[in-house]
């Protein structure tokens, strides 16, 4: 199967799959969010989802009216306290009453703390949760993934193979076979005084030894060398990944977060964002991403959910 070329392709495929298998039930945590409501109304119109809104019912109604969103066909569960609303939405998904979980107007870390709670049952053994940002920057005109800029603050070496495994679930849906993964650093040379570059070297050797499968991995690589064939040539960095990375793996949450945001703010890239590793896909796009980005995220999540458990 050919790679999906762009987000139009992705949405088309998602619409086709849901028209075969039916719309998925999506629980929106803290639904007092005009952008999330607009995105859900679009996704519903496309036949992708059946929305379940969890939050303060009266505020939701008010915000929907103000934003011109028709709530006909939306289920609403009244829970005015944000943390409880987040937990309730997560429970609904964990119980199987919904297939997808989405973050509304609540801070990401509060949302994750609530959803990640052991008692809720969204957590899976031996899995970690990671954020995967999917971008289509004009400058590249292809998909580029960034992970993890949203969940793990400081991933250790032992976490990185799992971070990569989670991202591979997304590239599989995008039909990118044998994706190329760059372990980002400030440099390509392995300097012993730069722990991040050292980490990149260690992970790429693990990959050489077959400890990480289904991907072509190299690092340390700087951002320009990772994605620009000219930079890779200029700086004489060989290997299969340099110049054509599909997935950028970063060393901490600040780097990932700022990188994602710089791509969609200053690169005006179309985007999508998910948290992978739970028993169901979780839609977590940045507060400053467009409504379109949220629709993209929902489309991507339906494909992941239809694929199998996530």
């Amino acid at each position: 199967m050919n790679r999906l070329k762009n987000f139009d392709d992705l949405r088309q495929l998602a619409v086709q799959k849901t028209s075969q298998h039916g719309a998925l039930r999506l629980a929106l945590a803290c639904a007092e969010d005009p952008y999330a409501l607009k995105a859900l109304s679009k996704a519903k119109a496309l036949g992708l989802v059946h929305p379940i809104l969890v939050g303060c019912a009266s505020r939701i109604k008010e915000i929907a009216e103000k934003s011109g969103v028709d709530l006909t066909g939306f289920e609403v569960i009244d829970e005015p306290k944000p943390r409880l609303a987040a937990a309730e939405a997560a429970v609904i998904v964990a119980n199987g009453q919904a297939d997808l979980l989405m973050k509304g107007k609540i801070m990401a870390f509060e949302f994750l703390e609530a959803a990640l709670h052991d008692g809720i049952g969204l957590k899976k053994e031996h899995q970690i949760w990671t954020h995967v940002g999917v971008f289509w920057p004009q400058a590249l005109s292809r998909f580029l993934l960034v992970t993890d800029g949203g969940v793990i603050i400081d991933p250790g070496l032992e976490d990185i193979p799992k971070v990569i495994a989670n991202a591979l679930k997304v590239t599989e849906v995008l039909r990118i076979s044998n994706p190329k993964i760059a372990l980002l650093a400030a440099v390509e040379t392995v300097y012993p005084n730069m722990p991040v570059a050292m980490g990149g070297a260690v992970i790429s050797k693990m990959a050489d030894r077959g400890q990480i499968k289904n991907a072509i991995i190299d690092g340390p690589l700087s951002l320009d060398v990772a994605i620009s064939p000219e930079a890779a040539r200029e700086k004489k960095v060989g290997g299969e990944v340099a110049g054509s990375a599909d997935i950028l793996v970063v060393n901490n949450i600040e780097v990932g977060n700022a990188l994602c945001k710089s791509i969609f703010i200053f690169g005006q890239a179309q985007s999508a964002g998910l948290v992978i590793g739970a028993s169901k896909p979780i839609i977590l796009s940045s507060r400053s991403e467009s409504v379109d980005a949220k629709v993209n995220s929902i489309a991507l999540a339906t494909l992941l959910a239809n694929r199998e458990e996530c």
Binding site: G150, A186, K235, N252
Partner: protein, 318 residues
């Protein structure tokens, strides 16, 4: 309170124009250490043609002249000095700067560490601040002013004190660009102080120090994420009460990876024109890389001219 200065430089073209004005008063001089480097020779000959700076070329004279011939660069009016090796070239360049015969030191074909060792050698008295850091000045089509990103080039993992010094260095660079009180965002993944995030905690402490007047000539706030720091509509919609949110002049990163990757992302995805400078010595240290397009190289030399003029004026005032 209006913090805007009518002399504030807002684009890379402003930087080039301002440097040309400075050099019209007195043509500033760049000394290139190990000038046998095509990218650098191209940059300095372009800078001179544009009236931005003159240069002294120190290094392997034969190679310098050969490169000039091969690539049809006019090097005839440059002062050229032979040096036995890169260490000698670095030493000579630093000596010329210490003797005030050059305003700016530029890195040629030698490791940055070799150059800095010579520049920071105590006997020359060229060290100005405790920490040597890098500032990347980015001119973006989608931002109304210049963005100063630091430090993506020198300090690998700044500790708390080093982060403060990096901020001081960045304040000086932004002030040289006509921003009297730069707005400084301490970048993090969130705007709330999450006790599990060590860098966000560090930022909160620095912001409070700034509130108490412990950081001069700047408006400092953090933790701020990139969207809150640069998008006024996000700052407004999410009610982030901050004098920096939505209008940052400076983004302070917590590691070399963060600074480096953000700058490169703004260049690669955001179409930024980039110029860079190493700060902390009595003279600016400029470096351009092979892969820089000509306008970046020119802007980097122009930035160094502006910053050296600023430092010289400060010295007179002290």
């Amino acid at each position: 309170m209006n913090q805007e200065n009518s002399n504030q430089l807002r684009t890379w073209q402003d930087i080039v124009t301002c440097a040309r004005d400075i050099s019209r008063r007195r043509l500033r001089k760049v000394v290139v250490a190990a000038a046998e480097d095509l990218a650098v020779l191209t940059a300095v000959s372009d800078a001179r043609a544009q009236g931005i700076a003159d240069a002294i070329l120190v290094g392997d004279q034969d190679t310098i002249l050969k490169l000039g011939d091969q690539h049809e660069l006019d090097l005839s009016n440059f002062q050229i000095e032979s040096a036995a090796d890169v260490n000698a070239a670095a030493a000579r360049a630093a000596d010329l700067a210490a003797a005030r015969e050059a305003d700016i030191i530029m890195k040629g074909f030698l490791p940055t560490s070799v150059l800095l060792k010579a520049v920071l050698d105590k006997k020359r008295g060229l060290r100005r601040t405790e920490v040597i850091s890098h500032c990347a000045i980015l001119s973006l089509p989608s931002y109304p002013k210049l963005l100063n990103v630091t430090d993506g080039g020198m300090v690998v993992k700044p500790d708390f004190n080093q982060k403060l010094k990096i901020i001081e260095n960045a304040v000086a660079v932004s002030r040289s660009l006509g921003i009297d009180k730069p707005r400084i965002a301490l970048l993090a993944a969130t705007d709330v102080v999450n006790p599990h995030m060590p860098r966000a905690i560090e930022d909160a402490v620095i912001a409070k120090m700034a509130d108490r007047g412990q950081i001069s000539h700047a408006i400092v706030d953090g933790p701020l994420s990139l969207d809150a720091a640069t998008l006024p509509e996000v700052a407004k919609f999410y009610q982030i009460n901050s004098p920096v949110a939505g209008q940052a002049d400076v983004l302070v990163a917590s590691s070399i990876e963060e600074g480096n990757i953000i700058s490169k992302s703004l260049i690669l995805f955001g179409g930024a024109v980039f110029c860079g400078i190493i700060v902390g010595a009595a003279v600016p240290v400029s470096l351009v890389s092979r892969s820089d397009p000509p306008r970046n190289k020119l802007a980097s030399i122009a930035l160094a001219v502006i910053f050296s003029d600023y430092l010289q004026k400060q010295e007179v005032m002290d």
